[in-house]
C-alpha cells in the first residue's frame, strides 16, 4: 500500500488519477438523475421478466442463455442494498471494485506487452 501511495504521489498523472477517484465518488449521479427523471434502464438491456412484460412472452432461448451465469454484483448493487442511499453507497463500492480490477488487469497486460520496450 505504501508503495502504491508513493507511486501515485510521484506519478506524472497524479491529477488524472484523482480525476478517476472523483468520478467514482460522483458516480451515484448516474443512478439519481435517472430516478428523478423517471428513466428506466437502457433500451434492450432488460431482464427476462421485463421482456415478458414488453413482448408478452419470454423467448425460450433468451431465458435459457440469460440464466447461464450468475455475476457476483449484478447491476452494480449488493444484495439488500438495492434501493435509496444504500444503493448509492453500493454503486460507489462497485465503482471502486470495478476500477481496481480494470486497473490491475491493464497494468498486468501492459507490463507483459511493454516489457521489451525499455523503460523510456
Amino acid at each position: 500500500m505504501a508503495n502504491l501511495k508513493f507511486k501515485i504521489q510521484n506519478s506524472k498523472f497524479r491529477k488524472l488519477w484523482i480525476g478517476i477517484a472523483i468520478l467514482i465518488i460522483l458516480s451515484p449521479v448516474g443512478l439519481i438523475l435517472p430516478e428523478l427523471l423517471k428513466a428506466g434502464g437502457a433500451w434492450g438491456e432488460w431482464g427476462a421478466d421485463e421482456v415478458e412484460k414488453i413482448a408478452g412472452y419470454v423467448p425460450r432461448g433468451l431465458k435459457k442463455l440469460s440464466e447461464l451465469w450468475k455475476v457476483p454484483i449484478p447491476d452494480y448493487a449488493f444484495s439488500g442494498w438495492e434501493q435509496g442511499l444504500k444503493s448509492y453507497i453500493g454503486y460507489i463500492f462497485s465503482g471502486i471494485i470495478g476500477a481496481a480490477l480494470v486497473i490491475g488487469v491493464s497494468i498486468l497486460i501492459g507490463k507483459i506487452f511493454a516489457g521489451k520496450n525499455g523503460n523510456s
Binding site: 478517476i20 448516474g30 428523478l36 428513466a39 423467448p59 433468451l62 497486460i109 501492459g110 525499455g118
Partner: protein, 234 residues
C-alpha cells in the same frame, strides 16, 4: 448498448466472438510494438476512465438511459489499438462481475463499442485534424487552427463513433427474429425486429447520448491539453 446474455443467438454471438479474437490478437501485437513501460499507467487510466464513465447513466426523461464510452477520447490519448485493449478490459470486467453486458455477448459488445466505435471515432478525428488544406484559414500548421481542428475532430469523431456502435448493436439485435424462431414461429432470442430496434436505439443516440459522448470527449481533451499537452497525439 451492452447486449445481455440471451438476446443474441449462437450464430450472431459466435460470429462476433470469431471476429473479435483476431482483432484482440492484432491489437496486442500493435501494443507490444508501440507501448512503452512508461505508458502502462496511461493504459490503466484509460481503461478505468472508460469503466467509470459508463456508470454515469444519462436519462432520457420518462424513457431509457444511456452513457458515454470514452472510446474516441482514449484513442486520441493512447492510440487506437491500445484503446481497443483498454475498452475491452473495461467491457469484460463489466460483463463478468456486474452483469453489464452478457458473457456470450462479450464478443459483440467488444466489437461494437471497443473496436468499431474506437476506430471510426479515431479515423474521423485524424481526418479532420490532419487533412492537408491549403487555404490558410484552415491550414493545420497554424497552432490555433490545429487546436481548433483537433477539438472539432474529436467531437465529431466521438459522436460518429458511438453512433456506429449503437447502429451495429441495433442491427445485431434486430436480425435475431430473422435468424432464430422456435417451432411455434416465435423468436427464440431478442424478439424485436429491425424496424423497432433501429429507431429505438438510433434516435436516442443521435439526439442525446451521441452528444453526451462528444461533450465528454471535448471537455476532457480541453483539460488534458492544459494539464498534459504532451499526451495529445498529432
Amino acid at each position: 448498448m451492452h447486449i445481455p446474455d440471451g438476446y443474441l443467438g449462437p450464430i450472431t454471438y459466435g460470429s462476433l466472438w470469431a471476429a473479435v479474437i483476431p482483432i484482440w490478437i492484432y491489437a496486442s501485437k500493435k501494443v507490444k510494438e508501440l507501448l512503452k513501460a512508461s505508458q502502462v499507467p496511461l493504459l490503466a487510466l484509460s481503461a478505468a476512465f472508460s469503466f467509470v464513465i459508463m456508470m454515469f447513466n444519462v436519462p432520457l426523461p420518462g424513457g431509457t438511459t444511456g452513457h458515454a464510452t470514452g472510446a474516441t477520447l482514449i484513442a486520441i490519448l493512447i492510440g487506437p489499438w491500445p484503446a481497443v485493449i483498454a475498452l475491452s478490459i473495461a467491457l469484460i470486467v463489466q460483463a463478468l462481475i456486474f452483469g453489464d453486458g452478457g458473457i456470450t455477448a462479450i464478443g459483440a459488445n467488444c466489437f461494437n463499442m471497443g473496436f468499431a466505435g474506437v476506430l471510426a471515432g479515431y479515423g474521423i478525428y485524424r481526418l479532420i485534424s490532419k487533412l492537408k488544406i491549403k487555404n490558410s484559414k484552415f491550414n493545420g500548421k497554424n497552432p490555433d487552427v490545429k487546436n481548433t481542428r483537433q477539438l472539432i475532430g474529436a467531437g465529431i469523431g466521438a459522436y460518429a463513433g458511438i453512433n456506429l456502435a449503437a447502429f451495429l448493436t441495433a442491427v445485431e439485435l434486430g436480425i435475431q427474429p430473422l435468424l432464430h424462431t422456435g417451432a411455434d414461429g416465435r423468436p427464440l432470442y431478442s424478439p424485436f425486429p429491425l424496424s423497432i430496434t433501429i429507431p429505438a436505439i438510433m434516435l436516442e443516440h443521435l439526439f442525446l447520448f451521441g452528444i453526451v459522448e462528444a461533450v465528454v470527449t471535448v471537455s476532457v481533451l480541453l483539460y488534458i491539453k492544459k494539464s498534459h499537452p504532451e499526451l495529445i497525439r498529432g
